[in-house]
């Protein structure tokens, strides 16, 4: 499992846990829900505000969607940082999930709050997506394939026909390594590569 799949799975777990705890809570929240809020470092709303929301939204059960959204925002912020790290590290070969995961995380709090509202049976389905910075026009497919075509010439090994073979020669006396995993020169009894570093 690569870092993208791993992040996706972690986000799913958190969302499931938040939805589950929020749905199971009494209307406006209870001690278990407060425990979850503390777990994510979120300060519970004032009880009067909770009561107001419960009345206003006619909640018969479950934590307030506003509090659920605040918790989800915490997860979203964390996941966004993780995503940037994964991107900067380069996406793994054959990944088909990076774009999907980016979309999911970008609107996680809004979409999952909306899902939660649906779980409670609230009628509104509103997903308000925040304004995003200007996005450049997508390149044409022809230019994508032309660019990809050119990259082949940049792979140094594309013309190589053989595996790499390297043998160690003692930097002190020029003697060859004669036993695998023996890095002391058999001839001069000094480290064959010049030094020996501790591995831990």
């Amino acid at each position: 499992m690569g870092p993208i799949e791993s992040l996706d799975a972690i986000v799913t777990r958190h969302v499931s846990a938040i939805h589950g705890a929020a749905c199971s809570a009494a209307a406006g929240g209870d001690a278990t829900w407060d425990g979850l809020l503390r777990h994510y470092g979120v300060t519970p709303f004032d009880p009067r505000e909770r009561a107001l929301i419960v009345r206003g939204m006619r909640l018969s059960r479950g934590a307030t969607p506003a509090e659920v959204r605040v918790v989800l925002l915490e997860v979203q912020r964390w996941a966004e940082r993780e995503l940037v790290r994964i991107r900067s590290d380069g996406a793994p070969l054959g990944s088909s999930a990076l774009g999907l995961l980016s979309d999911r995380i970008a609107f996680l709090a809004d979409r999952e709050t909306s899902t939660y509202e649906q779980m409670l049976g609230l009628p509104r389905l509103r997903v308000s997506e925040p304004a995003t910075p200007p996005v450049a026009a997508a390149p044409s497919l022809a230019s994508i394939f032309a660019n990809a075509d050119q990259t082949s010439k940049q792979a140094g090994w594309a013309t190589s026909k053989h595996a790499h073979v390297n043998s160690l020669t003692c930097v002190h006396c020029g003697g060859p390594q004669e036993r695998p995993m023996d890095f002391m020169c058999r001839y001069c009894r000094r480290p064959i590569a010049g030094t020996l570093e501790p591995t831990q």
Partner: protein, 452 residues
């Protein structure tokens, strides 16, 4: 519904059809482009992978367009008949949600199948060349005598029978890249199971919406159905890991272990919050059992592997990206390891990173990586944002981001990784920097997208 509402619905359906047609057109053109690429580069997987990644960005955008082709549909339906019966609007909304789920499922399936088809085509085209590379003779670097390989897919240290010198033979890069991608050979069957699972979940959501539209509460999923879903999820993950193990190595125990782990994270994690499931299985209700994102690592995860810590592994990876193969072998010898051992520990550390939600293993690895190569201090925040924007643009254009990074900024991917990690740490301490980062990198992306 009144005429105005019917018109809004017709408009919505038309927009959805339009998005679907656009996606089909894009996929047809992509298939043609892939056919040409595979024909032109039968030995090289990279051009196809780059092109597919770039097209995937556009597919995602079209999917978003199709998922919500007419914004604020609910408000528009209500406004069209403010005093009309609510049930009809809810019924229309249930239809919209059903169509949206169906569209997203269809779009995902189309994309996954196209990607799988062309990766398999590429692998088939590569296979004769891979066979030739595997069977091509390898000779002793010292005396030229032939060497006998045991496993041409892996790095090996082979002692020459003629002169006694040890030769470290690494797999040909084409062979490595071929076997890294071989899970695509079994992907079609896995996609079938994934889509069956998705449909099963969507069908239930459709049913709940229909109940709500009929004026009843959305029902909770019955236990019998949850157990069916459990079986479908298990089937899917088993097929997924069987394909991986069959093509990339591993045992039947690995399949069971990985499947159980995934089920724990995905299905049972969700079920821990399901009161009905908890009651039926004797699990304390509300016990989500999920670690916080900032949770502590299992200390065992940081135990050295064959004497190599995560930090040292990070240093070695940094060295590998900047040294030529002979220099790297020399460097490994200073750490008392050959290439075969390095490959083993690299795989083991990557596995640990993938199974560590606390990211503590990655943090240790990053410490090693950061200690090598370019320092973030040499690159300003504005420059970092520019590089990130350029990197995104090259990815979307199907260009070789690594080669362009060298050409435009005289940096290696490892250098950039170091710089990014350092700035990300600083940004985490000052969250407002994220907005600036998003703005500056988007501007840079536009600038580099405009370049030929």
């Amino acid at each position: 519904m009144n005429v105005a509402q019917q018109q809004i619905m017709a408009e919505w359906n038309q927009a959805l059809q339009h998005a679907g047609a656009k996606l089909q057109g894009l996929l047809a053109q992509t298939a043609e482009g892939c056919r040409v690429l595979v024909g032109r580069h039968p030995m090289d997987l990279e051009p196809l992978v780059r092109a597919l990644r770039a097209v995937e960005v556009q597919v995602s955008a079209l999917k978003r367009e199709g998922a919500d082709p007419v914004p604020d549909i609910y408000d528009r339906l209500c406004s069209a008949d403010p005093n009309g019966p609510r049930g009809e609007v809810e019924h229309a909304l249930a239809q919209i949600r059903h169509a949206r789920r169906e569209f997203e499922r269809w779009a995902d399936e189309q994309w996954l199948r196209l990607e799988s088809t062309w990766m398999v085509e590429q692998l088939h085209a590569m296979w004769p060349h891979v066979q030739a590379a595997i069977t091509s003779p390898v000779t002793c670097q010292r005396c030229g005598a032939p060497l006998s390989r045991q496993n041409p897919r892996q790095s090996e240290s082979i002692t020459c029978h003629a002169c006694g010198a040890v030769n470290q033979v690494t797999a040909h890069e084409m062979v490595e890249s071929y076997f890294q991608a071989t899970y695509f050979l079994d992907e079609a069957g896995v996609i079938d199971k994934l889509m069956a699972l998705r449909k099963f979940k969507d069908d239930w959501e459709d049913m709940r919406d229909a109940e709500f539209a009929a004026g009843r509460n959305r029902p909770d999923e019955p236990l019998e159905r949850l157990e069916q879903r459990e079986q479908l999820e298990r089937d899917y993950w088993s097929a997924h890991f069987r394909a991986r193990v069959r093509n990339q190595g591993g045992s039947a125990e690995d399949v069971t272990k990985f499947t159980d782990e995934r089920m724990q994270r995905e299905f049972y994690g969700e079920m821990n919050g399901n009161a009905l499931w908890c009651a039926a299985h004797g699990v304390p209700p509300g016990d989500a059992g999920v670690e916080a994102p900032r949770g502590n690592a299992d200390p065992g995860l940081l135990e050295p592997i064959e004497g190599v810590s995560a930090e040292l592994y990070g240093k070695l990876e940094a060295k590998r990206s900047s040294a030529n193969p002979a220099e790297f072998v020399q460097h490994l010898a200073q750490h008392q390891m050959d290439h075969a051992k390095f490959d083993r520990i690299a795989k083991a550390w990557c596995d640990r990173m993938a199974h560590d939600p606390s990211n503590a293993v990655y943090a240790e690895y990053a410490k090693g990586l950061l200690s090598q190569g370019a320092s973030a201090d040499s690159v300003s925040f504005e420059k970092f944002c520019e590089i990130q924007g350029a990197w995104n643009a090259w990815g979307k254009q199907g260009k070789d981001a690594g080669a362009n990074l060298q050409q435009h900024f005289a940096l290696t991917p490892t250098d950039f990784s170091n710089i990014a990690m350092t700035w990300m740490q600083k940004m985490s301490a000052t969250p407002t920097m994220f907005e600036e980062f998003a703005r500056l990198s988007a501007e840079a992306e536009q600038k580099y997208m405009a370049m030929p």
